[in-house]
Symmetry: C2
Subunit: 116 residues, 2 copies
């Protein structure tokens, strides 16, 4: 087994889809993971990830803060301890509507390794 602390993993700014004030960390990246990868996002107050879609589903666990998660059809408020499932190809985006950082884990399949 191996162990690392999430705070020691490099942060990279998310800039696609008009996203702002948001960093991504690949805690378990596509080389390390066998079937799926684990990422941690940190979004400052007022920050967002713009609406986008892709074939990978999301399994999300909210670690801290409060945000609006939206699709092209609906909008939900989420907070620490919430679990979110976003199906493949469903448009989705996020906006931090709270006063503290919105932090969440997001697990995605490594489709290249799954033969999909």
């Amino acid at each position: 087994m191996w162990v690392k602390h999430a705070d020691d993993v490099d942060k990279k700014a998310v800039t696609d889809y008009g996203s702002t004030k948001t960093d991504i960390q690949w805690l378990i990246d596509k080389k390390e993971g066998l079937h799926y990868a684990m990422r941690r996002f940190t979004m400052k107050p007022g920050g967002n990830i713009g609406l986008h879609h892709h074939p990978e589903e999301h399994e999300i666990y909210v670690l801290q803060g409060e945000a609006e998660v939206f699709s092209d059809k609906e909008k939900k408020i989420v907070k620490a301890g919430d679990v979110i499932f976003v199906p493949p190809n469903e448009p989705h985006g996020y906006k931090n509507i709270g006063a503290e950082d919105f932090v969440f884990l997001c697990i995605i399949p490594i489709l290249e390794k799954l033969g999909s």
Copy 2:
């Protein structure tokens, strides 16, 4: 997309492998997940999950507390924010050595759906 709060998911005692004082919650179960499932474990102080192994790898994120994670060969101390990867078939177990609950997310592949 759907959202649920982790606290609303049923808890079940973990009793295999001589495990004690530990509950599991299937936050995203094998029916809901497409490729992998998300579980949350809560282990009271002094609790443990005994040494065991299986074909599923683990991607783990520690939410709270402090524990010893051990294999048949080594032992590591982990705490909140640590990320742990346990390869397929590697023996592993956990013991809460702290004063508060040891809580962690553990993602496993749904091998039945992956054709493995």
